[in-house]
């Protein structure tokens, strides 16, 4: 009955094998899909706001910063908003007293891209209108002056 002597080492090995299995292969992966928001901050010259300080405000408390960070070399900053707080998230980027704030809707009505600012064409058109307003004002008042001079 020599095999009886094998029971103890066999049991030990089995126990060891089981515990090893439990610790080395006990992996578990869960997933939740979350949405990250990437912002790109540039000056109106087109150069990135490198090192611009970012402050993120959650919709439930627009007075207290929810997250703070710094833009990278390309003026980029990525954050993941809390999905339990739907609404308008405010993100401010500031550097040397300059900067802007963007309002990002998160929740049911999500716009995948967005931003402020106008195209070059819009800017040129608006500038032309305003300048024409000033020139027109100048012409109007200089006409009055000529009339005064003649009378």
């Amino acid at each position: 009955m020599k095999w009886k002597w094998l029971v103890l080492p066999m049991s030990l090995m089995l126990l060891l094998a089981l515990t090893t299995t439990a610790s080395a292969h006990g992996a578990k992966i869960e997933y939740t899909i979350s949405m990250a928001v990437e912002i790109v901050a540039t000056y109106d010259t087109g150069s990135p706001m490198t090192g611009g300080q970012v402050t993120v405000y959650a919709p439930d408390d627009p007075a207290t910063p929810w997250l703070e960070g710094v833009c990278d070399e390309e003026g980029r900053f990525v954050f993941t908003p809390d999905p339990t707080k739907p609404g308008t998230w405010d993100v401010q980027v500031r550097q040397a007293g300059h900067g802007d704030m963007i309002h990002i809707p998160i929740g049911e009505d999500v716009a995948t891209t967005g931003g402020g600012g106008y195209s070059t064409f819009q800017i040129v058109l608006m500038s032309t209108c305003v300048i024409w307003g000033f020139v027109g004002t100048a012409l109007f008042f200089s006409r009055n002056r000529r009339e005064y001079a003649h009378s």
């Binding site: 710094v70 500031r94 305003v130 000033f134 020139v135 012409l139 008042f141 002056r145």
Partner: protein, 212 residues
Amino acid sequence: MHIPDGILPITISAAGYATSGAATWYSLRKIGQKENAQASVPKASLLTAAFFVASWIHIPVPPTSVHLVLNGLLGAVLGYYAFPAILIGLFFQAVMFQHGGLTTLGVNATMMGVPALLAFFIFRLRRVVGKESRWAVGLFGFLAGAAGLGIAALIAWGLLINTIPAHLDVEAERASIYALTLAHMPLIVLEGIFTALVALFLHRVKPEILED
């Protein structure tokens, strides 16, 4: 130079509206005392247009870039019309291009308009030397243009450095404010030269424009 919305505390914005209101009242009162107040409106209107587009002219000063302001020039050439002109120019810049902001309109108008009035007083000092002297027109034109922007940059620096929100990285923000203020130094000289050239040109072709 244009401080946008959401940077300054509300008390500073309110104080800016108060000071710009007082400066507008003072300027309009002085304009009203003139014999023919309308006579200078075309000149003021055209220079408001120049001020309006000047902020799109960027000058690279590594590592950043600055834009023309021309508040000293407006002060020297327009006199008491300079403050209302700057206020109107800033309003259109804020509404059209979000350059500056409506809550900070008063602060920005004070920051650029009051130094413009000071530039006017500096330019008037040329009378001490002699009104017809070309070099006096050039010298005081330079001083007016440089002082107008220089004082505005100092006001901007003072406002920004004292109102950095505590939640930011204060040291980094302070360093970038210093860098931006220093970047205005070449522009101060440039606007001084530009104002001197415009003043000399007007002095030669149409001296009555500089009568104020």
